[in-house]
């Protein structure tokens, strides 16, 4: 099933700055997946978008994680708040 087909799921790159989200699924390489997990971004982790754009910066468990767009566009997330006005 593609991300677009899933109800209420979005790619991280679709979220705006300041929005809260939860990571649901990732389709990155094994190494990138392990690194994201070690930094605290794994399935179920809640985060806040600090910067939208390349790089994407999210805050997870008080840590700021920067990632290239090529990673951000492979993370399926659920919105936990409405986009800021």
């Amino acid at each position: 099933m593609t991300y677009e087909a899933r109800e209420r799921l979005a790619l991280l790159t679709e979220l705006s700055e300041g929005e809260l989200g939860r990571l649901e699924e990732r389709t990155v390489g094994a190494l990138e997946s392990e690194l994201l997990s070690a930094l605290g971004l794994r399935e179920g982790s809640e985060f806040r978008v600090c910067r939208a754009g390349d790089p994407w910066i999210v805050e997870v468990r008080s840590a700021r994680i920067g990632m290239a767009r090529r990673i951000a566009e492979r993370l399926a997330v659920r919105r936990l708040s409405s986009p800021p006005p």
Binding site: G29, L31, R51, S62, G66, A68, I71
Partner: protein
């Protein structure tokens, strides 16, 4: 530069036991290591800067420590003991006891402001069967942020001693030393593994934080808006890049501007000492050896100490602020286009100091092709050993314009970086096809840099440079002096004739006689050098470098600098000598004013430019080649560097010389 960082862990033979320091990157392990051992290991704010194990000794008898030293090992920062990364493997080796010595225990260093996340390592460490102490670092920072801790409860839940410390200020370090001594004496038991912690370390750490620290902080806080704006600015595709250029420009300008006064002082001191020795010592080989070999060789290298100190000091300050991690993302967009990963930024930046630590730092690049590409292009970055040559030649090209000299100097750095990018693109197309891995990086907190740490780093590097000066460069200086001074030849008939005329005129016209005597001395020195071993060797290699406009002296300089680039200026300083009439001149000025055997200037704008281009691009460092061989496990790659880079350097130098001669710059 030929100085090498401590790469292989060494053992302290009389140590009573070994204690490991481990924790997340930027948790302050290395600052604590410096505080405990009094050593100045490099502390950085960029994740994973500690790429090799560092070993120090806890001072005996200090704060309840035993009478014999305890070996303290500073391990690379890591996020998770289960990750398949090189630094994690290093930690596993240390935990299982390298060198046949099992550690007495460990100190897990956690950042008090990120306790919730970093406590997960405690869960993993509990399964290793090793006693450990939890050091909650940056406690002062946490207090300022209004965080409070129930340490007794944390100790009860973890079943290990908990010590709040501030490694930077020294707060709580005495209590920690006492606990380290307890680890060595076996007074701290191995904690029982907690099934809940082993099953889900994150959930366990969250619950523990909730129990002991008043609950996890909600996502977002009042200060985040400001931090977000800073991050957005520093990583912005255009503004971020402009800031990066401005920061780097300011860095090089500061080095040039601030170093000039101490450099002049050092030059003046050596000139004064050389002249003093000439007056004290009788004419002969010993005086020549001391003034020409020792003073000349030392002056040609020690003069660059202020610039090396400033370079390391300023880079350390920048690392400490947290800015470099943001700059890495700015560079990632650029590096990706040339087939390099964003993680290559720090190794390439480190290579500006010395390619060897830069190549070591590539161990943090997980993808083998990404890493190999970075290793192969790292020596293109202008290291501090090239700095003396840049200063000498840009100062010659623009003697009365510090601004133009500074721009030319910065241009060399940019030229080297551009060559590295071009070479990376070529390598990814021809030898190592594929795309670089996308970058993921933790962005450390912004903080004021620690001046003491930066000063310590600068001192350590200066000391390392002086050790090189005291050994390799000095030995080569003596060798070059000997080669240029022997075999001794009798003064030629022209010299004898000049001296005879001077003697005849001495009574009638003392000034004219002195001038003739001076002319005789200059001619004698030139003839002596030409017939010396150095002269003969120089003439042998001169045809190779003549197309770049270099004579035999410059050719010898280039030849000796294949051992280490910084030897170039020392070699020239020895070869151009310090005759009595020029003794008060600084070494750089003497080289600028030196003449070739035919009486034409040693350096011309065209030959100096060609030489500058050659030095930017050439692979002239035996230590770097040895390091590349060790890191790649193959002779193929260092040979490719040596032949490829030097061939490119010669061709570019030749083109530069020919173009400038055609433009009338000769």
């Amino acid at each position: 530069m030929t100085a090498q960082p401590l790469e292989r862990p060494h053992r302290i033979p009389d140590a009573l036991g070994r204690v490991l320091l481990l924790g997340y990157p930027n948790s302050g392990k290395t600052t604590l290591f410096n505080r405990l051992c009094g050593l100045r290991a490099k502390t950085a704010n960029f994740p994973g800067t500690t790429t090799a194990i560092r070993v120090g000794r806890l001072q005996p008898g200090r704060d309840g420590a035993p009478a014999a030293p305890i070996e303290i090992v500073d391990l690379p920062g890591l996020y998770d003991l289960k990750l398949a990364l090189p630094e994690v493997q290093v930690v596993h080796q240390a935990l299982s006891g390298w060198g046949g010595v099992a550690p007495a225990g460990a100190v897990l260093v956690v950042d008090a402001t990120h306790l919730r996340r970093q406590l997960r390592l405690a869960a993993e460490l509990q399964t290793k069967g090793l006693p450990f102490v939890l050091a909650i670092n940056m406690i002062d920072l946490a207090r300022r942020k209004g965080l409070s801790y129930d340490l007794e409860r944390l100790e009860q839940e973890l079943r290990v001693p908990v010590v709040p410390i501030s490694a930077r200020k020294g707060e709580g370090v005495a209590a920690l030393v006492s606990r380290i001594a307890d680890l060595q004496r076996g007074k701290i038991p191995v904690p029982e593994a907690n099934p809940a912690a082993a099953c889900d370390p994150e959930a366990w750490a969250d619950q523990l934080t909730l129990n002991c620290l008043g609950g996890p902080t909600a996502l977002g806080s009042a200060s985040d808006g400001f931090l977000d704006r800073l991050d957005r600015t520093f990583t912005h595709p255009f503004v971020g890049f402009v800031i990066f250029l401005a920061v780097m420009g300011a860095l090089f300008w500061t080095i040039f501007a601030l170093a000039s006064v101490p450099m002049s002082l050092i030059e003046a001191t050596f000139a004064y000492v050389g002249k003093g020795l000439e007056q004290i010592l009788p004419i002969g080989a010993v005086r020549d050896l001391l003034v020409g070999g020792l003073i000349g060789g030392l002056a040609g290298t020690v003069v660059f100490l202020p610039q090396i100190a400033l370079l390391f000091f300023l880079i350390s300050l920048l690392e400490d602020t947290g800015y470099l991690a943001r700059a890495a993302f700015v560079m990632d967009r650029l590096l990706y286009r040339f087939g390099l990963p964003g993680n290559a930024f720090v190794p390439l930046l480190s290579s500006h100091a010395c390619a060897i630590p830069g190549i070591f730092a590539t161990r943090l690049i997980p993808d083998p092709s990404d890493r190999l590409t970075t290793i192969l292009v790292a020596p293109f970055m202008s290291c501090s050993a090239r700095l003396p040559v840049y200063v000498l030649l840009t100062g010659f090209l623009f003697p009365n314009s510090p601004l133009k000299a500074g721009l030319a100097f910065a241009g060399c750095y940019f030229f080297g970086a551009a060559a590295a990018l071009g070479a990376a693109k070529l390598l990814r197309k021809q030898l190592l096809p594929g795309r670089s891995r996308p970058m993921i990086l933790e962005l450390p907190s912004y903080k004021w840099p620690d001046l003491r740490v930066a000063a310590g780093v600068a001192l350590e590097e200066c000391w390392s440079f002086l050790r090189t000066v005291g050994t390799t460069i000095l030995a080569l200086s003596f060798l070059i002096w000997w080669l240029s001074a022997f075999p001794r030849s009798a003064p030629g008939p022209e010299v004898v004739e000049l001296r005879q005329r001077a003697a005849q005129l001495a009574a009638a016209d003392a000034n004219q006689a002195a001038l003739l005597e001076l002319e005789a001395n200059v001619l004698e020195r030139r003839l002596q050098q030409e017939s010396s071993y150095a002269g003969r060797l120089g003439r042998m290699v001169e045809p190779v470098f003549a197309p770049l406009g270099l004579d035999w002296k410059l050719s010898i300089g280039v030849l000796t600098s294949f051992a280490a680039r910084e030897v170039f200026v020392a070699t020239l300083a020895v070869l151009v000598g310090a005759p009595e009439e020029e003794a008060e001149l600084g070494v750089l000025e003497r080289i600028h004013q030196a003449q070739r055997s035919d009486g034409t200037p040693l350096l011309t704008p065209a030959s100096a430019s060609a030489l500058l281009v050659f030095f930017v691009l050439a692979m002239q460092c035996v230590s770097t080649l040895a390091t590349v061989f060790r890191e790649t496990g193959s002779l193929r790659w260092p040979m490719l560097q040596l032949v490829g880079m030097t061939g490119l350097a010669w061709s570019a130098g030749f083109a530069t010389y020919r173009i400038l001669v055609a433009m009338g710059w000769s």
